[in-house]
């Protein structure tokens, strides 16, 4: 089968900016499954989502949990996203009595941002307090980047940004251009 293409096209990433200050990496391909509950089935849907991600429990509002098969993000009161760097062709089934699942694996572009200046870079664009006390590891936020709705979460390696695919290259160019000022001096 043909290989799926990234929305970023031929943008070089790591070679230009890989240094101790900032690293930008695209995760591609990946799988992203939405699990949606009804108001009276949140607990059951949460259990289902946790099992899907291989984690002990599902996260609460504004939180994520990392499991053996992926990370579960609580993005809305009735919705979780299960994201994994392992592509998955089929969308898992969920009884409509409990909720609904939806494959969104191609709808977004996943960028990992790490390094000493990662938080500074993100603060050029995101109106969030990203200091550890306000946005600790495991935090999730729905926010806006250049008026485009994006998802951000923090894990042990740094930050993760999910950008709608159609905007991904344009916003990635913003990140690249702004990140250049933090390139570590070669002197």
């Amino acid at each position: 089968m043909a290989e799926p293409l990234s929305a970023l096209g031929d943008h070089p990433v790591a070679p230009q900016l890989a240094n101790a200050m900032i690293t930008l990496n695209e995760v591609h391909p990946f799988s992203l499954i939405q699990i949606a509950a009804w108001p009276d089935t949140i607990a059951n849907a949460a259990t289902y989502g946790a099992k899907l991600a291989g984690s002990e429990q599902a996260p609460g509002a504004g939180q994520s949990t990392a499991g053996q098969r992926g990370t579960l993000l609580r993005i809305e009161p009735l919705k979780w996203w299960m994201i994994s760097d392992r592509p998955q062709a089929d969308c898992p089934d969920l009884s409509s009595d409990t909720g609904a699942t939806l494959n969104l694996s191609d709808a977004h572009t996943w960028i990992k941002i790490s390094g000493a200046k990662a938080e500074t870079l993100l603060n050029h664009f995101l109106p969030l307090d990203l200091r550890k006390g306000a946005f600790p590891i495991g935090s999730v936020a729905s926010t806006a980047f250049h008026h485009v709705g994006v998802k951000l979460w923090r894990d042990t390696a740094g930050y993760n940004l999910l950008i709608p695919r159609s905007f991904a290259r344009s916003l990635f160019e913003h990140l690249m251009e702004t990140a250049r000022q933090y390139r570590e001096s070669s002197d």
């Binding site: 089968m1 293409l5 929305a7 062709a89 709608p164 159609s166 702004t178």
Partner: protein, 509 residues
């Protein structure tokens, strides 16, 4: 030895909040942005505004862009003196962010030149450019406008493209259309309430064209909705209204019908979509499928939907629907497979003598057919104005049904959708021209033209638009298309809006 005051000072430096001159009352500015003086602060106190928040609002001290960074402390000190209190006892006012000064450039400076607004690309963006597409703006999207070959002008290109679609086959990137997943046990009921026509009995594996109205009875948007499973629908919207419809659906579910078990999710970016249209469309598509029999006329009749695989195992959805009026299929694949899909389809289409076509040719094809777009459904028109009144169900309630039938909206002289031909077939007229009775080329006239094109199928210029009373009121009569800003008057005739293949035989082929 003198005793030190708090803070260790023997002779503490006291703040000077105001310079006062004996026998003079100079104007002393406290807030230099809003020109608030010390006299204004004391006046506020005299007027009885003893709360710091009231003083702020009475004087506007601290309400400018500095949010009081320059004058608030002085104002509070003067107020404290007037009240006979210590400064801390007066309190502070609420100030707005940013707390520390931020350069305007930091807020908006990135929004310049090529980064003024984000560019929205379809999954086929690079593929289209590699094939010579000239792009145009469709909101934030770039969409192919036309594919000029060998130095063609835009006019030559779109006429060739439209002709090729009608005669052979063409492929058009339609990925920018809004797409919304509507899921849940009450999904069919939800669609039934928002669309004017029925959806609750739509069979799995079928699509239906639907129109939704606003509460006031005006048309909001149109599109096709596909039933993929019992509780799973894929709704398409116009490109322009994708976001607006999504917000509307969420509002309905969250505020009007929270009891419905329905989830809506934007999947506009999940899918790459193309239309393959023309007499050879079935041949081209079948040659790209793992199982070519799946789109025979019997297996996939008009408005049928199927899930299958393209060659190479690429999963896809195929709907036999047509905007061009030709035998046509819309094929959707996960966005990452958009370019591989196009490679497959173009390989077969090019071999069959087909073409790639853009928005200009797409417009030509739909104008010939009398199919409406946002140019006609502009927020002022009703179902009946657009000639679609028969779509409205009489068996179920739906949003907008009551108010669309108020007297003003069912008057016989309402503007109705029509086609427009130049009386002298060699002439042209502009979109935006007004339609007037001859000799009465004044004011807003009797109607207006919404879109124009050269029609390859008819061999002359045509237009689509609205005129009071519709075709019946103007049949056999001359009308003036007047456009005083751009050209001389043109004499035109009004015709029914479906100017080519009115019975729709070609798309049922």
């Amino acid at each position: 030895m003198e005793k030190a005051a708090a803070g260790g000072w023997i002779t503490p430096i006291k703040p000077l909040y105001e310079v006062r001159l004996t026998g003079a009352k100079p104007k002393a500015f406290v807030d230099p942005q809003h020109d608030v003086t010390s006299g204004d602060v004391r006046l506020a106190h005299q007027e009885g505004f003893v709360s710091v928040e009231h003083m702020k609002r009475y004087t506007t001290l601290g309400m400018a862009t500095d949010q009081g960074k320059m004058g608030n402390v002085i104002g509070l000190a003067l107020m404290a003196e007037a009240l006979g209190k210590d400064i801390p006892a007066v309190g502070t006012t609420r100030f707005r962010p940013p707390y520390t000064p931020v350069a305007i450039g930091a807020l908006a400076g990135r929004n310049t030149a090529g980064q003024f607004k984000p560019l929205r690309r379809t999954p086929l963006h690079d593929w289209n450019l590699n094939k010579g597409a000239t792009m145009t703006d469709a909101g934030l999207w770039h969409r192919p406008w036309y594919f000029a070959s060998s130095g063609e002008t835009i006019t030559e290109a779109y006429i060739r493209e439209a002709t090729t679609v009608r005669d052979t086959v063409g492929i058009c990137d339609v990925s920018s259309l809004g797409k919304i997943a509507v899921q849940g046990p009450d999904a069919a009921e939800f669609l039934n309430r928002i669309y004017v026509n029925g959806f609750s009995k739509l069979a799995v594996g079928k699509a239906r064209y639907g129109i939704m109205l606003r509460d006031d009875g005006m048309v909001l948007d149109d599109g096709t909705t596909w039933r993929l499973a019992e509780d799973d629908f894929l709704m398409t919207t116009t490109t322009t209204n994708a976001g607006g419809v999504m917000v509307w659906l969420e509002e309905l579910l969250q505020t009007r019908w929270p009891d419905l078990r329905v989830h809506v999710t934007s999947v506009s970016d999940q899918w790459a979509g193309v239309a393959v249209a023309g007499p050879k469309a079935r041949q081209v598509v079948s040659e790209c499928l793992e199982d070519s029999t799946l789109i025979s006329n019997h297996a996939l009749p008009f408005m049928g939907v199927t899930a299958t695989h393209l060659k190479g195992g690429i999963p896809c959805l195929i709907a036999r629907i047509s905007f061009s009026g030709e035998l046509a299929y819309e094929i959707y694949v996960a966005a990452g497979y958009g370019a591989p899909m196009m490679d497959l389809l173009w390989d077969k289409a090019e071999a069959a003598g087909g073409c790639l076509y853009g928005l200009e040719a797409l417009g030509t094809l739909r104008i010939e057919k009398g199919h409406v777009t946002g140019a006609e459904l502009d927020g002022r028109m009703t179902l009946d104005d657009a000639g679609l009144g028969k779509m409205a169900s009489t068996k179920k309630p739906f949003i907008g049904n009551v108010l669309r039938q108020r007297p003003e909206l069912i008057r016989e002289d309402r503007p109705q959708l029509v086609g427009v031909f130049p009386k002298d077939r060699s002439q042209t007229f502009n979109g935006g021209a007004l339609l007037c009775a001859p000799g009465d080329e004044t004011g807003f006239g009797a109607g207006w033209i919404t879109a124009v094109t050269h029609s390859p199928a008819l061999g002359h210029w045509i237009g689509i638009g609205y005129i009071s009373g519709g075709y019946q009121a103007w049949d056999g009569k001359s009308v003036t298309a007047t456009d005083p800003v751009r050209q001389d008057d043109v004499t035109v005739e009004i015709v029914p809006p479906h100017m080519f293949d009115a019975d729709g035989d070609r798309m049922h082929g």
